[in-house]
């Protein structure tokens, strides 16, 4: 087809059919370009960095700059490069299985992230529901209020929670003042503080997908359910909640994934004795200056998160093909 088109360009002016064929080729090229852009982005900002981290995880610690060996290069020719490759090994991964600290840190992170995700859902759902049922004129303002905390640095907001939660902090002063408690509650440097911190910090990521799922739901469905004899609570569980499930799942993933690797919140609010993989990784990297082991920790963390996400997305795609 393209041969014919090109030969006719020399011979005669393009006919309408040929012009449209050429236009289609052009459109196909533009379409492909549009698809290429995100792939190039992923290649440069995800795949290549990941390969570098993965390579470091296979290296050995060294007292050098950078603090690992071998550093791959062609300084000694192809034979030298192959020699360097031979030095790579899975020693660091073996090490991760030998010290139970890592296993506990992974499990503890997943458990903390899971509990926090459930708590965020419990707090976020009513917020999103209230927003979606608010008068349409008020919704943009409410949406704005949800996003507003992002205007301030995440770190500063977590620091602010120290001021609220510490024994002589705002919360304790308030509770002592109104006489609910008689001695300060110890919240800071406990798991409770981590949960509060994660729920607070990740709430917008839960509220926004929930809101968008709830907002586009046709309210006449609820009326129809009531009309058919369904009291409001039952109507919520039979109609509203199932229809908001895509939002629930999206919101939970958006909270759970970063919460597993969370470092700042457990470090600032959880104190020294809390165990989370993000903190372990930070210690490995900055305190021990053991780049290879911390890279191995990061790679395992990534695999831990990527497998359920891929499985979930496949399930969702299959469900969509079958018509929801």
């Amino acid at each position: 087809m393209s041969n014919e088109t090109f030969s006719s360009i020399d011979a005669a002016p393009l006919t309408a059919v040929e012009k449209s064929a050429a236009a289609r080729l052009g459109a196909a090229f533009v379409n492909r370009l549009v698809i290429i852009v995100p792939y190039v982005w992923l290649l440069f900002f995800f795949l290549i960095p990941f390969i570098i981290v993965f390579k470091i995880s296979l290296s050995q610690t060294a007292i050098a700059i950078p603090p690992y060996a071998p550093v791959l290069g062609f300084g000694d020719g192809v034979a030298g490069f192959i020699g360097q490759l031979k030095q790579l090994g899975l020693d660091n991964y073996v090490w991760l299985t030998q010290d139970p600290l890592y296993f506990y840190a992974y499990v503890s992170s997943v458990v903390i992230a899971a509990i926090s995700t459930v708590l965020t859902l419990l707090v976020g759902y009513p917020v999103a529901y209230g927003m979606a049922r608010a008068p349409a004129s008020l919704r943009p303002t409410l949406l704005m209020l949800v996003i507003l905390p992002f205007w301030t640095s995440f770190l500063i907001r977590v620091y602010a929670w120290i001021g609220i939660l510490k024994p002589e902090g705002l919360l304790n002063q308030f509770l002592l003042g109104i006489g609910v408690i008689h001695e300060p509650l110890i919240i800071l440097n406990t798991y409770t503080a981590i949960f509060i911190g994660i729920v607070y910090s990740y709430l917008p990521f839960m509220v926004l997908p929930l809101y968008s799922a709830l907002e586009k739901m046709d309210y006449s469905l609820i009326e129809a359910a009531k009309d058919l004899g369904c009291p409001p609570t039952a109507a919520f569980w039979k109609i509203t909640f199932p229809l908001s499930l895509p939002g629930v799942i999206a919101g939970c993933l958006l909270v759970f994934i970063p919460a597993v690797g969370e470092f700042v919140i457990p470090d600032l609010l959880g104190g020294s004795q809390t165990l989370m993989i993000g903190k372990t990784l930070w210690n490995e990297f900055f305190s021990n200056r053991d780049w290879p082991v911390s890279s191995a920790v990061a790679v395992i963390l990534l695999l831990l998160l990527i497998v359920p996400i891929v499985l979930f997305q496949q399930a969702q795609a299959r469900a969509q093909e079958q018509g929801r």
């Binding site: 469905l221 009309d227 058919l228 018509g323």
Partner: protein
């Protein structure tokens, strides 16, 4: 099977002084803030009646329906169903079901599950639910679509699922909010007759809201014409069309020609009405018009005859010029501009393939009509 018309023909409980109304709106007012949607409205509907609420958008007809379903409470007045005051009864405890304009089918449930939804809520035993669902699917001819989700159906099929779901519980009253609004014209006309058959077969009371007068005329036993939250007239389709109670009703339902004038002389059977230009009309349907009253004489286009020659012996005739012609196949509509400037619309059935009296643009023409062809309106 006997024609359902035989049931329909003798059905006129509204003329029976002993008949007990089934639904009764008593001085119902509904306000939304400053806006009065329904204003001191009273209305009765009888059991097994097919009742239509007809009006332009914003006339309060949907609000009436929603108050009956329980989604809104009247600000003042009360609504009785089968003798029971409905105030304070939530929608899920009312023995009425509604078919929504948007159909409101549950997108995450199959057709079967949608139809079974209300039955499950009532705690009906499973085998009975299955039997009822199968019966409903058969009724709306969707047996082979039972396992489909709503988004896999066409608009007409969705409409039938919505209908099946709303009648599955055998409600005392079925409320239909613009039930055919989303269908194309041909499907709408077929479905009108299906709805009528369904209502007769199930013996239910139907209250339908529509803005489509043809739909209301075709289906309903009686029509209530609403305007600005008030009832203008409640009557059978024939009465609404042939004996409208006011200028508004006459103008709202069908096409009409109105001659404004003053009653010059009136006795029990005849009146003479003098128009502004001095032309005189003799009419038989006098109503409550008294001499000297300002009235409108309303006459439907199909009751006016147009001819190129002065008709001999006609009591009422007016002269003018053919201003516009619309040939519609089954009939031709003429717009005749009278010498006093008023444009009269007249329609003629094309009974023969070639018209005997061909008229064309700018021809001089006479419009004529019988004294009892129209009606005198005082309001």
């Amino acid at each position: 099977m006997a024609s359902l018309g035989s049931i329909r023909r003798d059905f006129e409980p509204w003329n029976d002084p002993n008949a007990k109304p089934y639904i009764r709106f008593e001085n119902v007012t509904k306000r939304f803030g400053d806006f009065t949607a329904v204003n001191n409205l009273s209305l009765t509907v009888f059991e097994k009646e097919f009742f239509a609420l007809l009006g332009a958008s914003g006339c309060g007809k949907s609000t009436l329906l929603r108050m009956l379903a329980g989604f809104e409470e009247p600000t003042e007045g009360r609504i009785l169903l089968d003798g029971q005051d409905l105030r304070g009864i939530p929608p899920y405890r009312r023995p009425v079901n509604m078919m929504f304009q948007s159909y409101a089918l549950f997108p995450h449930m199959t057709v079967e599950k949608n139809i079974a939804f209300g039955l499950k809520q009532d705690g009906m035993p499973k085998p009975e639910i299955e039997a009822r669902v199968a019966e409903m699917l058969k009724l709306v001819k969707l047996e082979q679509f039972a396992r489909r989700k709503p988004h896999q159906l066409s608009g007409g099929q969705r409409q039938r699922v919505a209908l099946a779901r709303s009648v599955a519980k055998r409600p005392k009253v079925l409320l239909l909010d613009e039930p055919l609004g989303a269908l194309d014209k041909k499907l709408r006309e077929e479905t009108q007759f299906e709805l009528m058959d369904l209502q007769q077969n199930l013996g239910l009371t139907f209250v339908v809201v529509t803005h489509d007068q043809e739909e209301a005329m075709t289906m309903a036993d009686r029509i209530a014409i609403l305007d600005k939250g008030e009832v203008m007239q409640v009557a059978t389709p024939t009465e609404v069309y042939e004996a409208p109670s006011s200028r508004f009703v006459a103008g709202f339902v069908g096409n009409v020609n109105m001659f404004e004038g003053k009653v010059a002389a009136s006795d029990a059977t005849t009146a003479r009405i003098t128009g502004a230009s001095g032309a005189e009309i003799v009419v038989n349907n006098v109503g409550d018009a008294i001499a000297g009253a300002n009235v409108a004489f309303a006459i439907r286009p199909e009751k006016i005859k147009v001819s190129s020659k002065k008709p001999a012996g006609a009591l009422n005739m007016l002269e003018g010029e053919v201003y516009d012609i619309a040939y519609l196949g089954d009939m031709t509509v003429y717009h005749v501009k009278l010498d006093d400037g008023q444009v009269v619309r007249a329609s003629a059935m094309n009974a023969a393939r070639v018209t005997e009296d061909p008229l064309t643009w700018n021809d001089r023409a006479w419009v004529s009509f019988l004294p009892d062809a129209g009606i005198v309106l005082t309001r």
